[in-house]
Amino acid sequence: MTHLTTDVLVVGAGGAGMYAAISAAREGRSVLLLDKGLVGRGGATIMAQMTVAAAIAHEEPDDWTLHLEDTLEAGRGLCHEPLSAMLCARAPARILDMDRWGTRWAREGGHIKQVTAPGHRRKRCCYIDFLSTGPAVAATLRHQVGSTERIRRLSNVTAIEVCVDEGRVRGAVALDLSTGSLTTIAAPAVVLAAGGLTKIFRRSSASTNMGGEAYWLALEAGAELVDMEFVQFFPIAHLAPRLVGMDPIMWDPFRYKLGGRLLNGSFEEFIHRYGGEDEGRYTAPRDLASYAILKEVEAGRGSPHGGVYLDFRHIPEDQLRSAFGPVIDRLLANGIDLTRVPVEVAPTAHYHMGGIAVDERLQTRIEGLFAAGEAVGGAGGANRVSGNAITEALVFGERAGYFAAAAAGAGTGWSSTYAEPARAELETLRQRKGVGPAPGAVQLKLQDLMWEHAGPFRSGEGLERAAVAIGDLREQLPDLTISEGEVFNLDVQDYYELKAMLRSAEAVVVSALQRVESRGAHQRLDAPQMSAAFEKNQLVSLDGRTGPTTPALWSRWRSVVRSEVRSA
C-alpha cells in the first residue's frame, strides 16, 4: 500500500477542485489533487456549455448586491445567505483571474460580453463561443494547475474514505483504479470537490461520474448535509431525435439568443397555463418550466417521445448560423435541421442545490474537512439561477483552497490503523464469489426508482416506496458480483460509487419526505403550495444510525440563517 503525505488533499478535479488546488498552492501548501477519471476532464464543469454569472458590469451597470438579490429570490427563502453573498461578491474577481489566465470570454468592442439568463435582471452572464464555456474553463484551469508548483495530480484515483480522529481530519484512503491497490494519504486538510449527485437519476445531463461521492464521504466522516431534497431538473434537455456529441442541455443558450417556441404535442403554447410568461422568450424559471412540461405530458398532451416541442422554424437560417455557426453543422450531422423540424425536449436531473453543510470558511463541522463547488449545499437555496454553477466552482474553489491552506498548519498525526477497515473491505470484495448482480446493474435500478419516485414530481406515497426500495438495494450490497482482475476493474469502482449513490439517494428521499410542501425545485403533488412553516433548512447526518435494518439517516430542521450580508 502506497502512502503519501500532503498539506492539502483535494478530492475531485473539475473546476472547483482545480481552483482549490491552485489557491492552496499559492498559500505555500503542498497539494495532492485526485480525480476518479482524468484530471480536468470529468465532473460537471467540462459539460457546462452555457454561461458564468458575475457582476463585472462590462455590458451594463451592475453590482454584486443585485446579483445576490436575484440569487436569493430564486432560492425561495432558503439560501444560506453568507454563502450566497460570498458567491456573488467574489465572482467578478474570478472571472478576471480566468481572463488573465487565457480564458477567451466572448468579447465585443473591447469588453467581455455579457448576456441575460433566466432569473437575472442584468446582462451579467459571461460565456465562450460556441457553447464552449465549460470546456474552455476546464482547459484554462488544467493549464494553470499544470504550471503551479506544489500541486501533484493523480488521475484514476478515487477517494473511498476520509479518515477522522478526535474530531479532526487526518487524511484519506483512495483506490488507484489503474492498479487496483489502495493508497493512504496523510493530510491535515481535505477539500471535497467531487460535485453533485445527478447520476442517481435515470435521466441526467451531467458527466457520468457524479454519484454523490462528496456527500457520501462527508456523511461517513461525520459531517452534515443540507437541503438534500432540492435537485434541479433542467426543463428542456434534448429528448429526440437521437443526438450524439452534444450536451443535452444545449437548447438553453439557443433560447436566450434566438427565442424558440415551447409547444405541446398539439403545437400549442402552454407555459402561460401554469403562471409563466413565455412568448418565445425564455423568461419562465426552471422549476416552473419543468413542472409545466411534465404536467402537459401527464395530461396526454406531450410530444411522441414524452416531452414537448422546441420550435425554431420561425427563425431564418442566416440568423441561426450567425448565432451558432459550427453548432448548426453539428446538428445537421445529427440529422437535425432546425429550419424544418422542431426538436423534442424534456426535464432531466441537472444540478443539486443541496450538499455538504459548511460554515463561512467552507468548513464542515469536522475540523479540516472543507467542501467546494456543487458539493457545497446552501448557496442556491431551493432553486439555483442559471449561470451560478461555474461561479460556485470558481469562487468556492478559491475560498476552500485558501481556508484549507490555513488549516493545514495543524499537522496530521496519521496512523496506519485508519486504513484498516477500508483495506479489509476491499479484500473481502476481491475474494467474494458473488451470486447477485454486478454493482452497475444495481445502479440502473436505483436510477429508475429515483426518477420515478423522487424526480421532478414527488408524493409522500412515492417517496415512502423509494425509501423501501433503496433499503432493498442496500441489502444486496454483500451479494454483488465483482468480476476478476485488479487492473482497471470498473466493478470495484462501481461498487464504491453505488455505496455513494445509495447514501445520497437516502438523503434526498428522507429530506423530501419531511418537506410536505412545494418550493423551488422540490415539487410535491400531495402538497402543491409553498408553506411558511417550511421556510427552514433541513440537515442530514448519520448521528442517529442505529442499525442496518432501520433508516440509517437522521435529519433535523434548522431555521434559516439570516445574518447580515451587506458587509461581506
Binding site: T2, G37, L38, V39, R41, G42, I46, M47, Q49, P135, R153, L154, S155, N156, V157, S178, T179, K199, R202, R203, S207, T208, H238, L239, A240, P241, R242, L243, V244, G245, M246, D247, P248, L294, V297, E298, G300, G302, H305, G306, N334, G335, A346, T348, A438, G440, A441, Q447, E452, G455, F457, T481, S483, E484, G485, V487, F488, N489, L490, D491
Partner: protein
C-alpha cells in the same frame, strides 16, 4: 403518472434506453478483450440497435447487460467534451461517443499507439498524473 414514466424511459442518461432493450433489431460489436500481459481475443456481442446510437452506447449496454468486466474509459457520455473515450473503431481512431453504429455492426479495439491497460482502456494518463 403512467405516461410520464413511459415518456421518460427514452434516452435514459441520454444513452441506451429500455426502449432499445425491447427493440427487435440488433447489431453486432466485435470487441478486443485482454490486458498488457495477454495476446488478447475478440469477443462478439449482439446489441439492441436504435437508430442514431453511438459505439459508446453499445459498450455501456454490454457492461450493464452482458459483461460488466469489460473495461472502457469515458466520462461525459455523449457530449464529446471530456475527450477520454477514444478507441479504434473499424480501424479508425474515433471518439466512441460520436462514432455512430449501424446495423452492419463495428469492430472496436484499443488505440494502437498506446499501451493497453485492460480491454479498450489504454494508457492515456499523463505520466506525471500516475501513482507509481
Amino acid at each position: 403518472m403512467e405516461s410520464l414514466a413511459l415518456g421518460c424511459a427514452i434516452g435514459g442518461s441520454f444513452g441506451v434506453s429500455d426502449s432499445v432493450v425491447r427493440a427487435s433489431v440488433t447489431t453486432s460489436l466485435s470487441v478486443w478483450r485482454g490486458s498488457a500481459q495477454e495476446e488478447g481475443r475478440v469477443e462478439i456481442y449482439e446489441v439492441p440497435f436504435e437508430e442514431g446510437m453511438s459505439v459508446l452506447d453499445a459498450l455501456r449496454w454490454i457492461r450493464t447487460h452482458v459483461d460488466p468486466s469489460l473495461a472502457i474509459r469515458y466520462s461525459c457520455i455523449n457530449a464529446n467534451a471530456c475527450h477520454t473515450c477514444m478507441a479504434l473503431v473499424d480501424g479508425v481512431v474515433e471518439y466512441t461517443c460520436t462514432a455512430r453504429l449501424t446495423t452492419a455492426g463495428a469492430s472496436v479495439a484499443p488505440l494502437p499507439k498506446r499501451a493497453v491497460v485492460r480491454d479498450l482502456v489504454t494508457d492515456t494518463v499523463p505520466s506525471d498524473e500516475k501513482l507509481e
